[in-house]
Amino acid sequence: MHIPDGFLSPLVALSLYVVSLTVVAYSGRRYFREGGDVHYLSVMAAGIFAAQMLNWPIPGGTSAHLVGGALAGILLGPFGGCLAMFMSLLVQCVLMGDGGITALGANAFNMAIVDVFAGYAIYRGVMRLTGRRFLAGFLAGWLAVAVAAVTCGVELGLSPQFGYPLGITVPVMGAWHLALGLVEGLATGLIVDHVRWAG
């Protein structure tokens, strides 16, 4: 889901830079004001970074990896999760050139904001209804990554240089990640069910 340079129109890229940096800065303030711990933040960011290095093959010559936004949001809360995901994306972009530097705002919007906050909301909602951690984590990981992919599809579809209209980018990205997201959901559910070190 890491958008490279050259895919987004300057307007889309710039707008999402402004939105993402604002939300990440606000999340950082809220996380630390509410007593958030630097250790958990660092370890979560490093864990997400390491997990995203595990690309597994998908038939057809392509690959997928865990995104981890919902997991970060559930374990650290949405503000800490947002900050941890952004830290990981920033290191990937600056050190490894993974995700375009002009698309960092969009990548942060999709993976550090939409995936995290949607995942957290889904988790809380399902927990309130069922009280089952695995189920809540599974649905959060699965559905939030699909929502983030749809957002990514909207951004690509709104960018003329990408060459495909919204009518193609949104269903393709959404359907693809709805299928791939089952693995994300399974991993999120299993981890959330076993890790109890944050709220």
Partner: protein, 91 residues
């Protein structure tokens, strides 16, 4: 709340096995990131890349790709753990 050392070992293990997925498997099966494939299809190649990174595509100068992938992963993890290390020292 106390975080055990297990989580650090887990992260280290993830990075050390990652070349099996990111380099060896990719070489054998021939897979790429989905959006990289799309870039090739629509002619948006690496020429559009504004910033290639200090360790481009998880490589490290002068070492084989498998080692470079793990090494760049270790560097990334170390950078992300800096805030935690600094905070620990201040306590």
């Amino acid at each position: 709340m106390k975080m055990g050392m297990r989580v650090y070992w887990l992260i280290l293990a993830l990075v050390l096995v990652s070349p099996l997925f990111g380099v060896v498997g990719a070489g054998i099966v021939g897979y790429h990131e989905p959006l990289d494939l799309v870039a090739g299809m629509i002619g948006l190649g690496g020429g559009n890349q504004v910033w290639r990174g200090l360790l481009p595509d998880y490589t490290f100068p002068g070492v084989p790709d498998v080692v470079g992938y793990a090494l760049s992963g270790l560097i990334g993890v170390a950078v992300l753990l800096i805030p935690s290390i600094l905070r620990g020292r201040r306590k």
